[in-house]
Amino acid sequence: MKVEEKKRSITVAPFECAWDEEFRFREAGRGCITFEASAHNDVTLVFREQPGSQHYHYKMDNSRHYIVILGSHRNKRLKIEVDGKTVVDVAGIGLCCSSSFQSYWISIYDGLISIGQGRHPNNNILFQWLDPDPNRNVQYVGLSSWDKHVGYRNISIMPSAPQNSILWSQIECAYVEPDGAGGHTRKQESKDGLDQRALANFLENWDFSDSIFVVGSERKVVPAHKVVLGSCGDFPFNLMMSRPAIELPSVSYPVLHSLLEYIYTGSTQISEWQLVSLLELSSQFKVKPLVMYCEEIIGCLKMSDAVSESSKKIQLSSGGSQAHQFYYFPFKAPLNTQKIEQFLVNGEHSDVNIYVNGHGLVTHAHKLILSLWSMTFDKMFTNGMKESSASNVFFEDVPVEAFFLLIQFMYSGELKVDIEEITPVLVELLLLSDQFGITALQFECCKRIMEFLSKARLVHIVKMICITHMSYLISENQIMILPTLVILVLILQHGHMTVTSEERVLDAILTWCMEACDCFNWTSVHELLSTSRPEKLFGGRLTAINTLLPFVRFPLVQPSVLHLMEKSNLAKNIEAFRQLLVSILHRKSTIDLLSGSQVAEAIEFSNAGLRMATNTCERFHHRRSSYKELQYISDGDNNGVIYYAGTSFGKHQWINPVLAKNITVTASSPNSRYTDPKALVSKNYQLMCNYYTVRQDGSATFMRSWVLQGSMDGRSWTSLHVHEDDQTICQPGQFASWPITGQTALLPFRFFRVMLTAPATGVSNTWNLCICFLELYGYFR
């Protein structure tokens, strides 16, 4: 397998694995791989410290590794294995697709494995899993398979984005924690006191408490927070005392504890016989949800005639009535969020005044609420420095408007900015939320900015044009509608641009630079240049050519065409063009000479590695095509045109397309006992054929010299692949496949035929073409 071939696509045979020095994370344990894959099932990726062999199999691996299998269990499940043990096995996500290439990305960051779809890491995330015992040594990626061929291509290794993945993991963990599962990472952290506090942590806690209950005859003192109590009931504190207090001499401590627990955590337990006192207490303070709840339960108990003196514990919880709230929002039922927002507006119960230097007072706030969101504020108010005892806190060097939005977000859980606008405030807010470690807000800002960017005007236009077929632009003389160089560059760079071949890109660039009304292709420009000078031909856009030419992905052009180009007048007259071609042809010939792939890699690196890494990679990537892409993976696979036509383009099970009249097949000799037609005609479809497969039938009459031809009209034929004394087929029933190279692979045809040009081997029937299977691959429309 040649290196260029490898770059474009790799087909991994069953139970094999492809390794390459290139498929390696720059930093051990952290990296991201993006790739496209086409397979029936089991797109398998191995992550190891060292590369393995071609016949590596993960079931036999006893060193540490990660395995990610997309489409396991006959394309039904996603699986992650760690050192041979299955840790994740979920149904129905990240499945593979055999009819076309699907893009995926897998990122590993210190044991956090994220899997997603699409070309852009951290977008379209499908699944994420955190290894409790991270393997920080994985570095090499192996592309593997199970019982079917898997085709891979456009493989890129990138660094995995740390900020984003940390952001994700934090939100993920915060989300999982209430279920009790998967929260282990957070809980481990909390040992160091580095964990953000939930409202439940403040239950009967003296931190930030601004009021007390004096309960029972023993006068037990219980601390509380007015801002919390005030948001769910009416607590008349006696303000005459040094610290606002409520005396409850006739209430026992467990009842008050139940009430507070219910308010702070949303659920509580109480003995049956104390239920009535809890009802009395909650109605005294107008905690309405609890009052209703108690009454309901007492009603039920009366109905069932239960013994009221029983000490059975009863669970009271506020249910999921606030499901609409964001999961990261710290205030849940029974707290009234509108009241909390109100506290910010009227400053009631506030215990801290926030000042921004150069602006003055921003707002009256509550230490408790700020601490619930941000550990920075929590520590600021508790660690014993100046702010811990002061009631005025001064912030310097923060933008006031964004800072107020930040505080508003803490009280309401919403970002109160206009969605339609991306303002500097939003960016400032993003910076602030990072400064103070408010992950949820950081995430919200990112989301807003991304949403806006995808809607933004410029991107919108570029997308719209790029989705239009590039070749269409050329054929319809539309390339001239592009007014400026900048926009053309944007389109050429854009990942969504669709073309059928790189030559069309070159044609488009030349046409645009000539400011021509008609469409030119490079061969006609070559002819024009024999009589004219480039200065005359391109005029003012001569310099633009130098900018634009590097966007043609020359490495993807067929070598024979490259040689033609090298000899053309284009190369003679345009220095940039010549240099590009020479460097690529030189590279190709060097690689052809050297068999060791590593040497070739080294040379390539020295040639191209100095430029921007991403650019270099992109030059080898196929662009998208509006033609249906049917790529050869293995002999007898289901990716070819005839199979595709047989299933009515993927709609149903395979029916012989000849019977379904999608394809007409005729033979040169009349139908007989031995002859079933062998030439192939399609109705209105066109195929740019780049690979074909035939299979010998049961006889030993092997074809040796034949030709595959294509035609648009059925009269004039073009040879796609000429075989002369080809010894490939030597067994009955053998499959054989050949690539179609050269310019003909880029020409669309409607008719195809296989024609014997010399007698076949064997004793009899040497003028018979003995095949039982034919399949064509390429770009289909």
Binding site: N383, E387, S388, G437, F452
Partner: protein, 215 residues
């Protein structure tokens, strides 16, 4: 598409921080560490210090900040060690030495916690990204290597523990405190002290008991 939804240019408010400014911020932070160890935190301004750390790390001087903090902590630990040795030399029995050691340890852990709060932004970003030792762990490591395992504390500690054990049949508060500290420093130090200070089987068992009690 309305004209409103256009990207407004964002004026870059933050200019690149030069090395001198970064160094002066680091100086402020190291001064604060000195004050924290001197238990003089009241006058420090958390917001100011946090913001300085944030700006230094944000402007890619995280390495400088981290090394400055590490150096300052090392210096403070060294200071605690000299004063501890001075107490031991100035007389006072094993009990007095242990009490002094524990009070210094307490002061150290409190200070480290306060320092960690101050450099929280660095801990959250720089330390994670570059896989540095967190300030908390650094504090433990410095105390273990710089104080407990140092040449002039270890023999005194072993001697004091032995004397204490021989004197009291039941492990008291003091021994429980020592055991707690040693457990935090890791099994290696714990067994080192335990083995060296065992007079006989009985007293070794008594320290083990106090350790297991703590655990």
């Amino acid at each position: 598409m309305t004209t409103r939804s256009q990207i407004q240019p964002l004026p870059f408010r933050r200019t690149r921080m030069d090395a001198a400014l970064a160094a002066s911020s680091c100086q402020a932070v190291t001064d604060a560490i000195r004050d924290i160890y001197a238990q003089d935190m009241e006058k420090l301004n958390f917001e100011q210090l946090y913001r300085r750390v944030y700006e230094v790390v944000l402007n890619k001087h995280g390495e400088l900040m981290y090394s400055e903090v590490a150096t300052a902590l090392t210096a403070e630990v060294e200071g605690l060690r000299t004063s501890l040795v001075a107490v031991a030399d100035g007389g006072g029995g094993g009990g007095a030495f242990l009490r002094e050691l524990l009070s210094k340890w307490r002061r150290h852990t409190e200070a480290v916690a306060a320092v960690r709060d101050m450099v929280m932004y660095m801990e959250r970003t720089f330390v994670v990204t570059y896989r540095k030792v967190s300030v908390q762990e650094l504090g433990v490591k410095l105390w273990r290597d710089g104080v407990v395992c140092s040449g002039d504390v270890m023999p005194r500690l072993v001697e004091a523990v032995r004397r204490e054990r021989a004197a009291a049949a039941e492990p008291g508060d003091l021994m429980a405190g020592v055991a707690e500290m040693l457990t935090k420093l890791g099994d290696k130090v714990l067994s080192q002290v335990m083995d060296a200070s065992s007079v006989d089987d009985y007293s070794s068992a008594s320290l083990e008991m106090s350790v297991s009690e703590y655990q």
